[in-house]
């Protein structure tokens, strides 16, 4: 990847070398994602088998995994060998229910169960953040006061009602907030953090490439 940045890799490695490597990485990376699901099923199935606390709920987790995954994995048409076998048992018109396309069982479960629940889980954070603002957001020191005042100003500026309120103090006040707080102080600090983090990422990459960093392999 590093060499391909500096040189014309087609001339060095022959055509498509980089393409192959990147294609392979996307394939191997896909398997890594499923690895975690095996652990979830194993842990929950064990809890069900041992009838540990809340086991009926854990059973529902395992059932949900299969309810989502199995229809997605079934063939959608007769074009494959698996499809020929499946659709000799059930009508071929049922094929649209399988796979991951629109109107499939997988798609329905995602749109009407999984997605609304995930949206709600994160929506609950609004209540917690409001409660935290009430209980913990204190002007205990000069630094904390600076943070607090900026937060209040930005909260006002980012909503139409607050912006209308700020305009009472001058028509350019909202523009000044965007210019000096967001494009001034904020850009400066974000840039400092970006540069610092990028230096860290670059040095870590170099350590990995030189074999100094091997913790990802479980070695010190």
């Amino acid at each position: 990847m590093v060499i391909s940045f500096f040189f014309d890799n087609e001339q060095i490695f022959g055509q498509k070398a980089e393409e192959f490597v990147l294609q392979w990485v996307t394939i191997v990376g896909g398997f890594a994602l499923v690895l975690g699901v095996f652990s979830i099923v194993r842990v929950n199935a064990r809890a069900v088998a041992m009838k540990s606390r809340d086991w009926p709920f854990k059973l529902m987790t395992v059932v949900s995994v299969f309810a989502m995954a199995v229809p997605a994995m079934l063939p959608v048409s007769k074009s494959s060998n698996g499809g020929k076998v499946l659709f000799s048992i059930i009508p071929e018109s049922w094929g649209s229910l399988f796979g991951t396309g629109p109107n499939s069982i997988y798609d329905w479960l995602f749109n009407y169960l999984d997605s609304p629940m995930m949206e709600t889980m994160f929506a609950m954070l609004a209540f917690f953040i409001a409660s935290a603002a009430y209980r913990a957001f204190r002007a205990r020191s000069a630094d904390a006061t600076l943070l607090l005042l900026t937060a209040l100003l930005v909260m006002l500026w980012r909503v139409p009602m607050g912006e209308a309120f700020l305009r009472l103090f001058g028509d350019s006040v909202p523009d000044y907030i965007n210019t000096f707080i967001m494009n001034g102080f904020n850009v400066a600090v974000q840039r400092g953090i970006i540069i610092g983090a990028a230096l860290g990422a670059a040095s870590m990459s170099l350590r990995i490439m030189l074999g100094i960093e091997r913790t990802y392999m479980g070695k010190g």
Binding site: S64, A72, L146, L147, T150, F180
Partner: protein
């Protein structure tokens, strides 16, 4: 207002509303409805990964090209992928390191270049501005503010030397910059979280409410 809903549409709206309210019920206290929804949610999300990877990786990137286009060399990344599962047995964990090294090595190469070329150089370059007389006070002030802010922020995060003397003063200025930026970030975070709640409230009010008014 919603158009006349069919039975299936009513059912879909009520199902979503039930799950949303079950999860929100946790705000009052932990209960059986919350646990029910939470466990289904975890299972479905895990199942989603399996379905997606089966379709997009195993079928589309491996099986189809191998059998339809005779791209048999794809068996190698397939094997590397399967080796990942060796991690599930502690005795065989070492086998998975081959695949892991392949992915990590490749990603490290990409990160090295993107960090240096795409982040560091590209972020430093715009600070090398030439200020002209005609630029106006606002632009000059802003350019100065950013340069001072970047330097003092980096100094604040430099922990190899004790923050005393000139370094201490610079780091102190850095803290002020950081506090203002984090304040702005906090304001944005509050905004984001509230938006997510609005999304759910709009569903309950407009869609579930619409269904309710049509039924009753």
């Amino acid at each position: 207002m919603l158009e006349n809903l069919t039975f299936v549409e009513h059912f879909q709206i009520w199902l979503r509303a039930f799950l949303i309210l079950s999860l929100f019920s946790f705000l009052y206290k932990d209960n059986i409805f919350y646990k029910f929804s939470e466990h289904i949610f975890a299972g479905l999300s895990a199942g989603y990964y399996v379905g997606l990877i089966w379709r997009s990786v195993i079928v589309q990137q491996l099986i189809n090209p191998m059998f339809d286009n005779s791209e048999w060399w794809l068996v190698f990344p397939g094997i590397l992928g399967v080796l990942m599962f060796a991690r599930l047995k502690p005795k065989w964990t070492w086998v998975s390191r081959v695949s892991l090294a392949f992915v990590i090595g490749n990603t490290a190469g990409i990160y090295l270049i993107s960090s240096l070329h795409g982040m560091i150089f590209k972020q430093i370059a715009p600070m090398m501005v030439s200020v002209n007389q005609g630029d106006g006070l606002e632009k000059i002030l802003l350019a100065l503010l950013v340069i001072v802010g970047v330097i003092t922020t980096l100094v604040y995060f430099y922990f190899s030397k004790e923050h005393k003397g000139a370094l201490g003063v610079t780091a102190r200025v850095g803290i002020w910059f950081i506090m203002i930026a984090f304040g702005a970030h906090f304001g944005y975070t509050v905004m984001g979280r509230i938006s997510l709640l609005i999304g759910r409230a709009e569903f309950l009010f407009y869609q579930w409410g619409g269904s309710l008014t049509q039924i009753f």
